[in-house]
């Protein structure tokens, strides 16, 4: 018994040691000839599919830069850190990033909840970050340190902007009167819903019901049954495409055939793949519309399709540009966290903007970018620009 136990203990110690060494090894190898970018996002767990989108965009940018000779003779390496879109994990990962001085800058986090949890560490220690996708409003007020310097930027618009935008679009452009709201019970869904409902009240759009769901849920029939009895003319889905597609599908099956609306969280070809026919007549705001993209954007769309064999989504496009911005910063000022932050903060006007595949990106005093929203819709099993855009 005791012999077996001591063997087991030795084995366990050995395993721990191996893990520790491999992590340390990763951190210190070739520190001189590569520049590292941290990419914290969900790569395992229920949200891994979204992290995959971010990885696709960042990896493409990094490969391009490295193929062209890297930055000042050094290769760029993206270090993918898994936080499962979980605030607890994100807090742990953020400490790891902040303490690893080789990681110059961050592209992430993907989820607003995770970004909010990681933010205090970045601000305290001083690590610049660009989130390509975190749209929650409160990030703007929590990204400054004591000296008032902004450490977290984003090349995506805020929930209050797109929530309000959608309410106006439904009421003014499409002329609908009664809408039911379905939101994901987290920082993203609630932020978006709140902005939508406030705007709706202001412009006299009738919100007949609000229902919440948890991430990863598969069955939405109880909530939909309840909403259907309110007889809405439209369904606003404040959440991501994996659940959004199921909501659309189950709504159709129960005979609730109304147009669906959503924000950029619905924007992915998987939405159409999962929802099938039920995806028809879904409108969504997106910061990136293939049809209105520049030549640069169109070339990117082609290259993405050739590389990954699927249509590009806005997450990948934004991640590609976010990586582009930080790499530009590194090439100008070197891999120094404080200098990169200064460089990003100085990108404050259209003249000093970064010209990427999603258009020009520059940041205001709160680190937010002013991006236009486009409306696209599902028609005939594909995304097309909505006929009526809102100015």
């Amino acid at each position: 018994m005791s012999v077996r136990n001591s063997k087991f203990v030795k084995l366990a110690v050995l395993a721990c040691a191996m893990v520790t060494f491999s992590v340390v090894g990763l951190g210190s190898a070739h520190a001189e000839d590569v520049i590292k970018i941290a990419v914290p996002s969900p790569f395992t767990g229920a949200e891994a599919g979204y992290g995959d989108n971010i990885k696709a965009g960042v990896a493409m940018k990094v490969e391009e830069v490295n193929k062209a000779g890297g930055v000042n003779g050094k290769q760029i390496e993206a270090v993918y850190l898994d936080e499962q879109c979980d605030p607890k994990e994100a807090a742990t990962v953020s400490t790891k990033i902040a303490n690893d001085k080789d990681l110059a800058v961050i592209v992430g986090h993907l989820c607003s909840s995770a970004h909010l949890a990681a933010l205090p560490t970045y601000v305290r220690i001083g690590v610049p970050a660009i989130s390509p996708t975190a749209t929650n409003v409160s990030i703007s007020d929590k990204n400054k340190d004591k000296k008032g310097r902004v450490w977290s930027f984003r090349n995506v618009y805020r929930d209050d902007f797109q929530g309000g935008f959608l309410a106006e679009y439904i009421a003014k452009v499409l002329g609908l009167k009664k809408v039911a709201v379905f939101y994901e019970n987290n920082d993203y869904g609630i932020g978006l819903k709140t902005a939508f409902v406030n705007k709706a009240k202001e412009i006299g759009l009738d919100v007949v019901g609000e229902e919440a769901y948890m991430k990863g849920a598969q069955d939405f029939t109880p909530q939909l049954t309840k909403l259907k009895s309110m007889d809405p003319q439209a369904l606003f889905i404040a959440g991501y495409y994996a659940e959004g597609a199921l909501i659309a599908d189950q709504a159709k099956k129960m005979g609730l055939n109304v147009p669906k609306f959503g924000a950029e969280g619905l924007d992915n070809v998987d939405y159409i793949k999962l929802a099938g026919d039920a995806a028809e007549d879904t409108y969504m705001t997106t910061p990136f519309l293939a049809e209105t993209a520049s030549d640069k954007g169109k070339a990117f769309i082609e290259a993405f399709k050739a590389r990954y064999d699927r249509d590009v989504d806005y997450m990948s496009a934004n991640a590609y540009d976010a990586a582009g911005i930080v790499i530009e910063a590194i090439s100008e000022v070197g891999p120094d966290r404080a200098k990169i932050r200064e460089y990003l903060a100085a990108m404050d006007s259209p003249e000093k903007a970064y010209d990427g595949v999603t258009g020009v990106t520059y940041f205001d005093a709160k680190g937010d970018s002013q991006k236009p929203a486009f409306v696209k819709m599902v028609k005939g099993g594909a995304f097309v620009p909505a006929e009526k855009q809102m100015k």
Partner: protein, 295 residues
């Protein structure tokens, strides 16, 4: 609205019941909570999808083949992860069960990717998405009818196997006392393998039904379903097969009504609250028997 919610709840409940019988049978025989069972359910869906898309099999042969694969996998998991620990403290087997669950989840992510995948629509008969019955404001689709028929007939089949066959008798004997059963000439390992096989094939069908019904599957789907089915098994009385069936249905309906009438963010909370209440007032579960701890 109430009638519709009951129909929805019954659909969900029957699926929980199919998974729950796998938990409860394994617990009944070797007193192990097989946390990897949720992953068997997930793999059932993915196997079926792969047989349809890669080998072009029609739906029903694909389901049968997926049952066979999961059945073999269930036996394999037992041999690899649990059999070496049969005489070890129960906690050890519980830990390997959790490890196995995480391993299978990540394996599926490596093989099929982490993005949610739709179930191949072309393989599902078109009639399934149509309405089968329509009373005033209740809508039952053929898909739901299919779920009812498959789930109920599988459970009747399971009941017959356990109560009428020799191997079923052996399972019950093992559940009562493993040592005495082996003294009576029962091949303990074979019976345990059979238990895993039976439970896993039920879990596989549940996975396929869910993937067809919701038209979506992803590698982590086994976790929530597994926890819910486990709750259903406890609710009905862990170790009792009719209890697991009943517990699944109660849980499905409680959850749906909770979401429909109380508050939707608390739907899981409602489900677990029901479980906790039952355990508080009837510790052995609704249909469980108060068992004297084995000496």
């Amino acid at each position: 609205m109430l009638e519709q919610q009951l129909v929805n709840g019954l659909t969900l409940g029957l699926i929980y019941a199919l998974i729950a019988v796998g938990y409860t049978m394994v617990y009944g025989v070797i007193e192990l909570i097989n946390f990897a069972h949720g992953e068997i359910y997930m793999l059932g869906a993915f196997f079926c999808m792969t047989f349809i898309t890669m080998f072009g099999l029609p739906l029903f042969p694909a389901i049968l083949l997926s049952m066979v694969c999961c059945l073999a996998l269930g036996i394999l998991i037992d041999i690899v992860a649990y059999r070496p620990l049969r005489k070890a403290p129960r906690l050890a087997a519980l830990i390997t069960a959790i490890g196995m669950s995480i391993f299978l989840q990540n394996l599926a992510m490596v093989i099929w990717g982490s993005r949610p995948t739709p179930f191949p629509r072309s393989a599902v008969p078109a009639i399934f998405s149509e309405t089968a019955f329509q009373f005033s404001n209740v809508n039952i689709s053929w898909m739901q009818v299919f779920i009812y028929v498959v789930a109920i007939s599988l459970m009747i089949g399971l009941y017959l196997i356990i109560s009428k066959t020799r191997i079923g008798t052996a399972m019950r004997a093992l559940a009562q006392n493993q040592v005495s059963a082996s003294l009576m000439g029962i091949n303990v390992n074979r019976v345990i393998s059979f238990t895993f096989a039976l439970g896993s094939s039920m879990g596989a069908v549940a996975g396929v039904l869910v993937a067809m019904f919701y038209n979506s599957m992803y590698p982590t789907m086994g976790y929530t379903a597994g926890v819910k089915a486990f709750a259903a098994a406890v609710l009905g009385g862990i170790g009792s097969v009719p209890g697991a069936m009943f517990g699944g249905i109660v849980l499905g309906i409680a959850e749906t009504l909770g979401a429909g009438y109380i508050s939707s963010p608390y739907r899981d909370g409602v489900a677990y609250a029901v479980m906790i209440l039952v355990i508080l007032f009837r510790p052995s579960g609704i249909l469980g028997k108060a068992v004297v701890d084995k000496a």
